[in-house]
């Protein structure tokens, strides 16, 4: 029996390894393929990720809620430290394994159509496979050193993909920014790893944070409070990778990459790696450190949501919403809602990926329009869109599902996860001081803001009339949902956004199967009342917000052209609300959003640029020092040498009597010196 179990485990490990390595293989094959654009490339990558996904499902089924599987092998020895490389499969890692491969699969299928015609499609798929490899490896490996390696490799592949169109200078600036900001986080992680190693002399994740976590059993204290540097380092790493305040500004810029990439990397998987890291090293944090995380997360969530309100670039809106949702996850980790955080990670991955794919299709079609009529517009600007719902119904429905999930209305997965977080946030703040109450209420407010901007987005894109036609009647819109490579992924992801994928009970988040895979929080008392009030209040108000937004963005334009009766019936009412709220709420909220945006551009980015400038200024100073001080010192030495030489030469005037005189004078001097001493 024992042997049998071990054999099964070995098989599981092998499958997991295969799932990780297949994309790598696809990467190598793609690199070796001839030509720049090769049809085969897309299918090779897709095939690889398909098999990976299947294997992941198998691995998941073997490990989920069963014993953890951990196998390792000696990698190398340095000094007396042995470094092992191995695979650690527990609930967290198999969940991520499954999630990543399942999200990557539709994105790959989508990409074959979306990027297949690009002249460098081979390179694209090579990069994409490389990313999948790094990401899958990141979630299963068992050593902090390896974790760091793949942590940086996902950042690297994201760098490559953001700058995929390397001739666009904006893309290149964006990928540089992304890499360097991530590097800041990497340094933090490296420092944290090094400090952990210093204290515990191991890099093994299982030993450090596993069942008998060393970080729990052994005191983690260093003189001078350097263990806080470890925490700070991890926080920095999380902030950089998961785009948390103040290192979040790279993510909106990263939207310069292909939209499929944004869907996979910058919405679903890589940016979630920060949350995953928190999940991995969770035991290391103390109460106060967690609170800091919660504050960071809550603030980021709120701030990003306010910014998303006023954005006009389709992808940027989504990017800010991603930041906001990641903030939710980090906050959840901070308040101790470990499982809910991961739950939200999973649900968010699906609906955000879906939304990006939808955005991709829309942008793709807009690009067509732009190319066809040779317009000078930004195909991502939502102000030029509108009325697309009729032309691309499937896309519209998908967007709707994704949007509702993002808002967190019932029947969607988003409801389950997000409400869970909010409820627990209220429970957490129970009995704490008023200041801590800010977090749940802030989160709640953020939810409503989310509802607003999501509605605005969908309305702007899909409702009303096509704006370009309004401006220029000559433009005819003939767009569609696209081929099966577009439809299939959307359908798949849409299904995954609905509640049955996670819980049979559409209302109670606690019944979600996913939550049972992770330790429950014991520290929080269940406060029943929140379980009814919070979802109810939240959703009802959300509905109001949605309607209000709808009214603001559709009816403003729609009023002169009444179409639907129910809109018309409420118009008066709406006008009244609009009149009041636009003064009291909308204006301030929009101003706040603008303010936040301004803050983002001028203060945070400004600070980053300031740092950049300071860095460059320092480098100029260093350069100057090198040229003038250090080499100047050399020149000084040289001139001293020459000076002495010239002095010695000055006697050599060619007059022999002067020579004799100098000689005698010096001898006399020596003699006098002798007399004196």
């Amino acid at each position: 029996m024992e042997n049998f179990l071990q054999a099964i485990d070995t098989l599981t490990i092998r499958f997991a390894l295969a799932a990780v390595l297949l994309p790598l293989l696809a990467f190598v094959v793609n690199v070796c393929l001839p030509g720049k654009s090769n049809k085969a490339a897309g299918w090779i990558s897709t095939l690889a990720i398909l098999v990976s996904a299947v294997l992941s499902i198998f691995v998941f089924s073997k490990v989920w809620n069963q014993h953890q599987v951990h196998q390792q092998q000696l990698w190398f020895t340095i000094g007396e430290t042995k470094l092992y490389a191995g695979v650690l499969l527990n609930n967290l890692s198999v969940l991520m394994l499954l999630l990543v491969s399942l999200i990557a699969l539709p994105v790959h299928v989508y990409s074959t159509a979306y990027m297949g015609k690009d002249e460098n499609s081979k390179r694209y798929f090579a990069y994409l496979s490389f990313f999948c490899f790094s990401m899958l490896a990141l979630v299963v490996i068992d050593s902090l050193v390896l974790f760091y390696i793949f942590w940086e490799l996902v950042g690297f592949s994201s760098y490559l993909l953001i700058g995929f169109w390397y001739t666009r200078s904006k893309a290149v600036l964006a990928n540089k920014k992304a890499f360097i900001m991530n590097r800041i986080g990497d340094i933090g992680l490296l420092a944290a790893i090094a400090i952990l190693f210093t204290v515990y002399h191991t890099f093994d994740i299982d030993q450090l944070f596993g069942a008998n976590a060393l970080v729990r059993t052994t005191a983690f204290e260093l003189p001078g409070g350097w263990q806080y540097v470890a925490f700070g380092g991890i926080a920095l790493a999380v902030a950089a990778k998961s785009a948390q305040f103040p290192l979040h500004t790279w993510l909106p810029d990263a939207m310069e990459g292909p939209t499929s990439v944004s869907a996979l990397i910058h919405a679903a998987t890589m940016v979630a790696a920060g949350v995953f890291l928190l999940g991995r090293v969770y035991p290391v944090f103390t109460e106060s450190e967690l609170t800091i995380l919660a504050i960071i997360g809550a603030f980021t969530a709120f701030m990003a949501a306010t910014i998303a309100l006023t954005q006009n670039d389709l992808k940027r809106i989504l990017a800010y919403s991603t930041i906001s949702q990641l903030g939710f996850m980090v906050m959840a980790m901070g308040i101790g809602a470990y499982s809910s955080s991961l739950f939200h990670l999973a649900t968010h991955a699906f609906f955000k990926c879906l939304l990006f794919l939808v955005a991709g299709i829309v942008i793709h079609e807009m690009q067509h329009v732009k190319d066809e009529y040779k317009l000078d517009i930004d195909p991502q600007n939502v102000l030029y869109m509108g009325g697309l719902a009729k032309k691309m119904p499937l896309t519209f429905i998908s967007a709707l599902i994704g949007g509702i999930a993002l808002i967190g209305l019932p029947l969607t997965s988003g409801y389950l996860s997000k409400d869970g977080i909010l409820i627990q946030a209220f429970e957490w703040s129970e009995g704490k001081s008023v200041l801590f109450r800010l977090i749940p209420f802030g989160a709640m407010l953020t939810s409503w803001l989310t509802a607003f901007y999501v509605t605005r987005l969908i309305v702007k894109v899909f409702f009303g009339e096509f704006k370009l036609s309004q401006i220029n009647p000559g433009i005819k819109l003939h767009v569609s949902d696209g081929g099966w490579q577009y439809k299939l992924p959307m359908v798949f992801l849409s299904v995954c956004c609905l509640f049955p994928a996670f819980s049979l009970n559409p209302v109670l988040y606690e019944h979600a199967w996913l939550l049972n895979g992770f330790p429950r929080i014991t520290g929080l008392d269940r406060v029943n009342i929140y379980h009814t009030i919070v979802p109810a209040g939240l959703n009802i108000l959300s509905l109001f917000v949605i309607y209000w937004a709808y009214a603001v963005y559709v009816m403003d334009k729609a009023l002169p052209f009444p179409e639907g009766g129910w809109i018309f019936r409420l118009s008066y009412h709406e006008w009244y609300i609009d009149k009041i709220y636009s003064k009291i709420i909308v204006a301030p909220v929009l101003t706040l959003g603008k303010l936040a945006r301004w803050f983002d551009i001028n203060i945070i980015d400004g600070f980053i640029h300031l740092l950049e400038r300071i860095g460059i200024a320092f480098s100029k100073v260093a350069d100057w020092t090198d040229r003038n001080i250090i080499d100047g010192f050399l020149h000084l030495v040289a001139s001293i040498v020459l000076g002495i030489g010239n002095f010695a030469r000055s006697f050599q005037g060619g007059r022999v009597q002067y020579y004799l005189f100098s000689m005698l004078a010096i001898i006399l001097a020596i003699f006098l010196f002798k007399i004196l001493i």
């Binding site: 005037g653 060619g654 007059r655 009597q657 004799l660 005189f661 005698l664």
Partner: protein, 101 residues
Amino acid sequence: MIGLSDFLIVSAGLFCVGLYVILTKRNAIQVLIGIEMMLNAAILNLVAFGKYDRFNNGGQMFALFAIVLAAATTAVALAIILNVYKKYKTIDPNEIHELKD
């Protein structure tokens, strides 16, 4: 009575005069004369001291050698000065300074 110290004083004076001559005179021959004066000062010393070295008579002997060598040096020097005069039409050592830094 002329004692040793008198000789020494005279020789020292001679030496100094010689030195003065070689440093200041604008004529190579005069410089040579200065050198001769210095040599003679030394020779005077030697002879004077030789009085106290009865057994070896080193001083006197040395003096003889020195006189001979001085003559030889002077001969060589004069030959060279002659040569220089042919080339430069002057024997002022200060005028002849093609070799210098």
